[in-house]
Symmetry: C2
Subunit: 542 residues, 2 copies
């Protein structure tokens, strides 16, 4: 027997309808690519998004077609985003930091039909334009006054293009499982793989983000997503903010400390979200200029692990609560968020900080578990660490066009590739990437723990740990160090610094000094390259 | 093209799984029907709910079977609720305040197979047992020590029944649109009609309830739902609390001021929800005993309009924020909730109170609009009032077995039967029931506004307004008054009290004095009965 409730498909167009109808006068403030800070309302955004949809249809774009954007966080990107998805096309957000060859690969793989691109990235597109096999038109996201001189064929000025459509347009209604958004992961191995979000997954994910114990946006919130819309839906904020009627403050192309501070202060921002690098720049700027953050209440930090010292600075010095978060493109992306529980009220600061340094706990609709190599579930005791597996309605079941094959196990779990602990309260802590874990005599050693410890040495600029083949133990850790300029720290110095802070059998068997450690496009250490470099290395213990 | 996200059906069993896994030690505190206050955890509740499911299967209950409960808010009701729904049966919550003949009607109409009943209601069931055509067994919700002597055939003691199953049980997975819950509306006309919730609608509704701008429950919240689980899912709290890992405090059979105060204070309750009558009793008790509410932060008031004086008392005297809410059984039930917006920070108290006296604004997934008699949408200007229509994924599309026929219009809107205004910020205010509006010369007069004004007279105990046929104006208002004991207020006194406070043409054409005004089972004025009584009444103006 089926229930008798309305067939009201969970479409992303309804998110913007809601914002326009019940929060029509709420503002979206954007630092434009052209320079000035501009503002519009949800009502205006709603009107322009429907014009985009109508204009796309006039262009011949059909339901299921893929339309790409290479754009900053601003109102124009938001209206294009909702216009594309709302009319039933798929919004493919491109990360401009990808290498040109990766960009060409994903645009051809996704079969992008049309491209919206900021003036900033016109040179990037010019350089690859002749390799794009499916793109039929390029819309430059600016007005006539700022239209660059470009050799891209079929390039049109966005505002001229949009002027050809009015907003007399009704969103089509269709199956909520229809594809809405596409975002390629920047894997360290193999080709990038496309994550294809559905309308339903985006709406459910927006709702879980707005749960009071997750991001918890309200109509009183002023939220600044520094995290880009091309990073998995700006961590849900592109949906969660209009859903709640929150004021949106969009940073555009400028993510330096001064620019972010100017918006935080000028727009009285109450909540913000970004990767640690952005906050390092902001904290530096605040420090240098002796500034405060009187309006800001919460900052969400994810993308890579947040150092406890950063949490402490925000909370103790600036009175801003930090929520450490973890997720993946494949998870829409929120996996866990570090809000404390009622039972933690009044615990000492040190305990609070240890808890906040973990990546947090999953909101409802995200399931997590850890397993050993054989797939046996490991205890949630905060000590055992194992493969982190996830399940939920906003988590990938496969990649675009089946790349990478089957990615779920028989029970529907997706292996994140991370290794983590889970404590009895559900707080998760990433200890490593599975492929970076060092397997020594059947036991696991976390490369990240060793790296974090090594960079604590005052003369170490950067550290990486990889496993090196060992005749007796299968693998043993090699610590690779970039010295700080002008220092001469030795292997013995570093090992004695680490001694006593970890189990004896975790101690690296050797230390290698290098000039630099290779990174991928998003700033992560490229361990594949390190393993290649050190593939013939022989440990002194071997 | 469909998205590539996981098929993770939104089943209510997953709500309890989440609570048990990530908030296993969180408490459910119940005032038991036997007397003492008892406590258990979500982990224990999860175990017992799976035992219920396993035991139901052993009993021969199958997916799609209807299992009824007539129970108070307590842990046993929660575990039965999740056990029934989780195994795929339909949990039919019975309102014990229904008249016996209505109870027999709905139990036969729903084809209830099994009944869980509190000892409190055993006499009620004994009186109708021989008229129940489908019920094959009755489980008395108590332990052996408290098992009453009953003449109900096949009556079993709950704890003995449950002892026959262990918790080695895995929830079945099935279509999220499967029926989960059933609740009959107590209409003032015709037979009660069954609202059939699905798993998906319950989950979506729980998620909208937990949005930070709706109920916004967190794991730090201690929530006391005085509103019964048989009143449309305890206003979502039966799902929203475990979803958030909130501590649940269940009042059992005692809803008097002293009993509620004892739980509010003893369990440090932070949030609670009930109809105005309950709060009148509590406020009276607090006043008499000179007590405070130091832990309570928010109270949600709905079910019938909350007098502004009650909002003022809670907020000014006790420092408790009031959220006025409105909904319907057909809406799961949340329709609107009166949280203020960011823009309202700092408005004067009088304006705040006027806004809070409205029923609030819809959360995302609830759509509202107002129309005239011809179905034309009326402006959202806070002045125009018209038929209130709603749409959303947790709103009925039809009643059990098609009773009442088609209930949606061509665009999928459900007519609530209420008449309301909508202001530009989305705040809704009920002005009347559509069938009670007085249609005078093509214009509408709100019977509720006149009643609210009349009861403001110090000598008036209760007031009702109905439309009486009029040769010139079609209908004109008749004010029906119950005088306070010992007073002799006259027609002229009352009309002159009202004069100047409403438009001249809204003034009642006559006042009739009666000893009492009839009410239905849930305490609402039975205007059908009044219209019958006064059907031959001739107005002095006619």
């Amino acid at each position: 027997m089926l229930g008798l409730m309305q067939d009201w498909p969970l479409l992303v167009s309804k998110v913007l309808d809601h914002a326009a109808t019940y929060h029509g006068d709420q503002e979206i403030v954007s630092r434009t690519t052209e320079g000035p800070v501009e503002r519009c309302t949800y009502k205006e955004l709603h009107s322009r998004a429907r014009r985009v949809a109508k204009r796309l249809e006039a262009q011949g774009i059909k339901k299921g077609d893929v339309v790409a954007t290479m754009a900053w966080n601003n109102a124009r990107h938001m209206e294009a985003w909702y216009g594309i998805m709302g009319m039933g096309a798929v919004c493919h957000t491109l990360n401009p930091r990808l290498f040109p060859e990766q960009l060409v690969y994903i645009m051809n793989h996704a079969e992008d039909q049309l491209l919206f691109v900021e003036t900033t990235f016109v040179p990037l597109i010019e350089a690859v334009a002749d390799k794009l096999q499916t793109v039929k038109g390029v819309v430059i996201m600016t007005d006539a006054a700022h239209m660059p001189d470009t050799k891209i064929e079929n390039a049109i000025c966005y505002e001229d293009w949009l002027a050809e459509a009015d907003d007399d347009y009704t969103w089509p209604q269709f199956d909520e499982n229809t594809a809405a958004g596409l975002c390629y992961t920047s894997g360290t191995t193999g080709n990038p793989k496309g994550v294809l979000y559905s309308h339903k997954s985006n709406v459910i994910h927006g709702m879980l983000a707005n749960a009071a114990d997750t991001l918890g946006l309200t109509s009183g919130e002023v939220i600044l997503p520094v995290v880009p819309m091309f990073h998995a839906n700006a961590w849900a904020i592109a949906f969660a903010a209009p859903m709640a009627g929150a004021k949106l403050v969009m940073p555009g192309p400028k993510m330096d400390g001064e620019s972010i501070y100017e918006l935080l202060d000028g727009e009285k921002v109450t909540a913000t979200a970004a990767v640690p690098t952005v906050w390092l720049m902001l904290l530096g700027f605040l420090e240098e200029n002796n500034l405060e953050l009187p309006h800001l209440n919460q900052v969400v930090i994810g993308g890579s692990a947040c150092p406890p010292s950063m949490i402490e600075t925000f909370e103790k010095k600036y009175g801003v609560e930090v929520f450490h978060a973890w997720g993946m493109t494949e998870m829409s992306p929120i996996g866990t968020l570090g809000r404390l529980k009622g039972k933690h009220a009044g615990i000492p600061w040190d305990e609070k900080l240890s808890l906040k340094a973990k990546q947090g706990r999953p909101p409802f609709t995200v399931e997590v578990k850890i397993t050993d190599d054989e797939g046996n579930e490991l205890p949630r005791d905060g000590k055992a660490f194992g493969h982190l597996l996830v399940r939920g309605p906003a988590i990938s079941k496969s990649y675009m066009k089946g790349e990478g094959g089957e990615i779920l196990d028989d029970d529907g779990w997706f292996d994140t590739g991370d290794v983590a602990t889970l404590d009895p309260d559900g707080y998760m802590q990433i200890t490593d990437r599975a492929k970076d874990v060092i397997k020594s005599g059947g036991e696991w050693i976390s490369s990240i723990d060793l790296e974090n410890l090594a960079v604590g040495h005052p003369d170490v600029a950067e550290a990486a740990v990889i496993g090196i083949e060992h005749p007796k133990w299968d693998e043993r850790p090699l610590l690779i160090i970039v010295r700080k300029e002008g220092t001469e720290v030795s292997k013995e110095d570093i090992l004695s610094f680490m001694d006593g802070k970890i189990a004896k059998w975790w101690m690296p068997d050797d230390v290698a000094f290098v000039k630099e450690i290779p990174h991928n496009a998003t700033g992560k250490i490229l361990k594949t390259a390190l393993r290649e470099t050190f593939k013939d290395y022989v440990l002194p213990t071997a």
